[in-house]
């Protein structure tokens, strides 16, 4: 574990990509193959199964540290990370043992078979034999979630450096639902056939927001289509099975059972990039309808009727078992079109139609229709473009509509967690209703660090009342809140819930009596809800 801790520290201490890549590449050349594989797994979000609840860990750590539970909780709320809190409050280790990362993961697995008392002994023994960083990492393995500022891109780059293979090839190898229990370093990284796993998706191609039409050249070189407001997904049909992947590499197959029938209509060796949409009478429903189905592993019948889904197809990545990502978009769309032409209308698959246009001005008109169509805007794709991996500039652009906005008054502030532990960054906002202020949303992001610091110092000096970690402040500051959607919500005092609210800007120029009202909010709900 010492070498893994050294790797972690080197990555964690640096803000420079080159240093992080070098640290990883060194590790991939020196660690045991099992440890290398686990490291890739952990850094790409494949964590070992949780064997001990967070509640237990907190109790045991507080007990060993001699702290009352409330004080442990208070500390946790400042640190923002359970494993780090535990590592900080525990007394120094008295034993020392250097075992591999794989050993400790195996150790955690065996704990799951034991009785509660034996598990506790096991954890306490481990805590007492691991020094600081190793103890933190061990606890991190227990609590899961290993986000340490290493992107999949960085892992791939380091692997390329360590193994001499191409980055795109490695990116593909790392996708899919492998775990260190189902594969080995050799099979995953060294072996040649990247489609050995039939469920393995291709890396998604992502676009940047368009900022300047002048860079695009002639309109005739471009295909425009709607940017649908659902869940981006990749449908894979191989070996008689189907798999549906999200952009975040979540396997969503069972959540959308409707799509299973597409196995009957699409040939084996087909991979389609598209958008999962709730869809009735040939029109997409709003994202709110789809939201009810997100996070559900099994779907009740009622929901299947209220919010049936389809795959709105954007692109074809694999055809008859061949990877066709290098052929031009125009060609891929033609093939996709002919595939879909053979699928009956009763099946949940549609082609995302091209939006016709001759000038950029035509497109601007089409973009204005987006909200009425439950779309987020337009996508522009160069007709000759290959299907690349990751977010790339040049051939694909998204042209989203402007968010909805409302001017609101800050009424409560709360300190952030982790990176923002001693800054007030989480605010509650209200709209005016006569002489009252009605809270309607929280927002955490969108301001600069400098603005957060300024507000933090203002909050400290202007706290009216404390409710635990929450501070009530005088209603003096107005912020423009941007959001992507609005829906009715009986759980909220204001009667509405916003989608992805954030602070667009601090309106220092606006007095509180010019902030928006509850009636304004209700009107937005009527129009866009």
């Amino acid at each position: 574990m010492k070498d893994f801790a050294t790797l972690f520290t080197r990555i964690d201490e640096s803000t420079k990509t080159t240093i992080k890549t070098a640290a990883l590449a060194d590790y991939f050349q020196t660690a045991t193959p099992e440890d290398r594989l686990w490291t890739i797994a952990l850094f790409t979000g494949r964590r070992p199964k949780r064997t001990i609840t967070a509640t237990r860990l907190r109790e045991w750590a507080a007990e060993v540290a001699g702290l009352p539970d409330w004080l442990f909780e208070e500390s946790y709320s400042i640190v923002g990370d359970l494993a780090e809190t535990i590592a900080l409050v525990l007394p120094p280790a008295t034993q020392s043992e250097d075992r591999t990362l794989t050993y400790w993961i195996g150790y955690i697995k065996t704990l799951s078979t034991l009785e509660d008392d034996a598990r506790k002994t096991g954890i306490l023994t481990a805590w007492n034999s691991l020094p600081n960083t190793e103890r933190f990492l061990f606890t991190k393995l227990l609590t899961g979630g290993f986000r340490i500022g290493v992107s999949a891109k960085l892992i791939t780059r380091a692997l390329a450096k360590a193994t001499g293979q191409d980055e795109p090839q490695l990116t593909h190898k790392l996708m899919g639902n492998w775990t260190p229990d189902t594969t080995t370093w050799d099979a995953l990284i060294e072996a040649d056939d990247p489609t050995a796993d039939l469920s393995r998706p291709y890396p998604f191609y992502l676009a940047y927001q368009l900022d300047d039409f002048d860079d695009l050249g002639a309109p005739a070189d471009w295909n425009a289509e709607r940017k649908w407001d659902g869940i981006r997904g990749q449908l894979i049909i191989r070996g008689g099975e189907h798999h549906l992947w999200s952009r975040g590499e979540d396997l969503m197959t069972d959540r959308f059972p409707e799509l299973a029938q597409l196995r009957d209509y699409l040939p084996d060796g087909t991979v389609i990039d598209g958008e999962v949409l709730a869809f009735i009478d040939e029109s997409p429903l709003s994202f709110n309808a789809l939201q009810k189905r997100i996070g559900r592993k099994t779907v009740p019948k009622k929901l299947l009727v209220e919010a049936p889904v389809i795959l709105m197809a954007y692109d074809l990545l694999e055809h008859k078992g061949q990877d066709i990502r290098d052929t031009p978009l125009k060609k891929r769309r033609e093939t996709l079109n002919s595939l879909i032409a053979d699928v009956p209308d009763t099946a949940p698959l549609r082609l995302s139609a091209s939006v016709p246009f001759e000038t950029w001005d035509d497109l601007s008109v089409a973009r204005d229709e987006s909200r009425a169509l439950n779309a987020e805007g337009l996508m522009l794709k160069r007709l000759e473009s290959p299907y690349l991996s990751g977010r790339k500039r040049g051939d694909w652009w998204k042209w989203k509509i402007d968010p909805l906005t409302i001017d609101a008054v800050m009424i409560y502030a709360q300190a952030g967690h982790g990176r923002r532990a001693n800054l007030f960054t989480d605010y509650t906002f209200a709209v005016r209703n006569g002489n009252d202020l009605v809270p309607f949303t929280k927002a955490y992001s969108g301001l600069t660090d400098k603005e957060f610091r300024e507000i933090t110092s203002w909050v400290r000096k202007n706290t009216l009342q404390r409710f635990g970690p929450v501070r009530q402040v005088p209603p003096e500051h107005v912020f423009e809140i941007a959001f992507e959607g609005i829906q009715e919500s009986p759980r909220h005092k204001s009667g509405v819930a916003l989608r992805f609210p954030r602070m667009l800007r601090w309106r220092r120029d606006k007095p509180v009596d010019e902030a928006n009202t509850l009636d304004d909010l209700k009107e937005m709900l009527a129009t866009y809800g």
């Binding site: 640190v79 532990a421 001693n422």
Partner: protein
């Protein structure tokens, strides 16, 4: 028995002696624990401070009416008997003991219990009531021992120097910078300083403190004239054009907040050294215990959690609101550590 000290909107007040301790509004007579700007403010008619604190106060506050007192020396002010005792926070810093008719209260200002190799070491003072800070009053704060810390900083500097990088270390101008200077190994390379730090160095050297040789950064100085240097800068100077003159550099912060990974990452420095001139969790608890006091007032820091903790430990603990800032990591230079 009447309270020896009370908490007013001007500062901590002693009615028996008609004086204030570290007031934040202009008053007639101010007793000052130490020279940081949230404790020693301008505008008082008369000041009383230790001989060790006086030079830096004169440097910062200009022409003031300042009487000095040695550690342990007793002085009668009205019906109160006062004396100053080392607080270990920065050179010259003091806890102020106030005795009125046998009742003893101590206002500790800012303090730390471990020796930093430069400041006069903290001295526990027996009292009935103790006024304490709790900037780091949570059990997640435990400082790196001084010898390990020195090793960490020297290793970081030496590695950078070998690789041809400048080492830029951010630390507060009064206290933190000098305690670091006093412990680093000057054989590794040249030591350069930011103006605000060099000014304080001059004051402390004038008082007889031994610090290694330092060179003030002037426009003609860069990594070319001083390769492999350690640059001591105020935290606000990091990431500015001033710091960019040093070419390829590794940056680090020295602060108690560096104990938290999140804060360390937010500062986007290459390294964070966990070092503070405030007491850590164990330091606070040990110090309070050593006073023998039953009544405790927590002034600045994690006051609500700390008060609750002390109450659960059997103390008669209270929170008082003051204008002191402790080690404010996201505030300006005003909040020094």
């Amino acid at each position: 028995m009447a309270d020896v000290l009370t908490f007013t909107d001007r500062g901590i007040y002693c009615a028996a002696g008609d004086f204030y301790i570290d007031p934040w509004q202009p008053v007639d007579r101010a007793l000052i624990t130490h020279g940081h700007s949230d404790h020693a403010r301008p505008g008082m008619a008369r000041y009383l401070a230790t001989t060790g604190t006086a030079p830096v106060m004169r440097h910062r506050l200009g022409d003031i009416t300042l009487e000095t007192i040695s550690y342990g020396q007793e002085k009668q002010i009205g019906d109160a008997r006062v004396s100053f005792h080392p607080a270990g926070h920065v050179p010259g810093s003091a806890q102020i003991r106030v005795a009125v008719k046998g009742e003893v209260w101590v206002a500790s200002g800012d303090y730390k219990t471990v020796s930093d190799g430069l400041s006069e070491p903290f001295e526990p003072v027996k009292c009935h009531a103790f006024i304490t800070e709790c900037t780091f009053g949570l059990p997640i704060f435990k400082w790196t021992p001084q010898d390990i810390l020195t090793q960490q900083i020297n290793d970081w500097w030496a590695t950078n120097a070998t690789a041809g990088r400048t080492s830029i270390l951010g630390a507060y101008a009064l206290g933190k910078a000098q305690r670091l200077l006093a412990t680093v190994n000057p054989d590794i390379g040249p030591i350069l300083t930011h103006g605000a730090i060099e000014n304080t160095n001059t004051v402390l050297r004038g008082q007889g403190f031994t610090l290694p040789a330092t060179t003030l950064v002037t426009p003609e100085i860069s990594h070319k004239t001083h390769p492999g240097a350690l640059v001591l800068a105020t935290p606000s100077a990091l990431g500015t054009t001033w710091a960019r003159r040093f070419g390829t550099a590794s940056t680090a912060f020295a602060s108690g907040w560096m104990a938290l990974r999140g804060v360390r990452r937010r500062r986007a420095a290459d390294r964070g050294f966990i070092v503070s001139d405030h007491a850590d969790w164990d330091g606070l608890n040990d110090a309070i215990k050593a006073t023998g006091a039953t009544k405790i007032f927590a002034t600045h820091g994690y006051t609500s959690a700390f008060q609750k903790w002390l109450s659960s430990e059997g103390y008669d603990a209270h929170i008082v609101s003051t204008d002191y800032q402790g080690e404010g990591f996201d505030q300006t230079e005003e909040a020094e550590a």
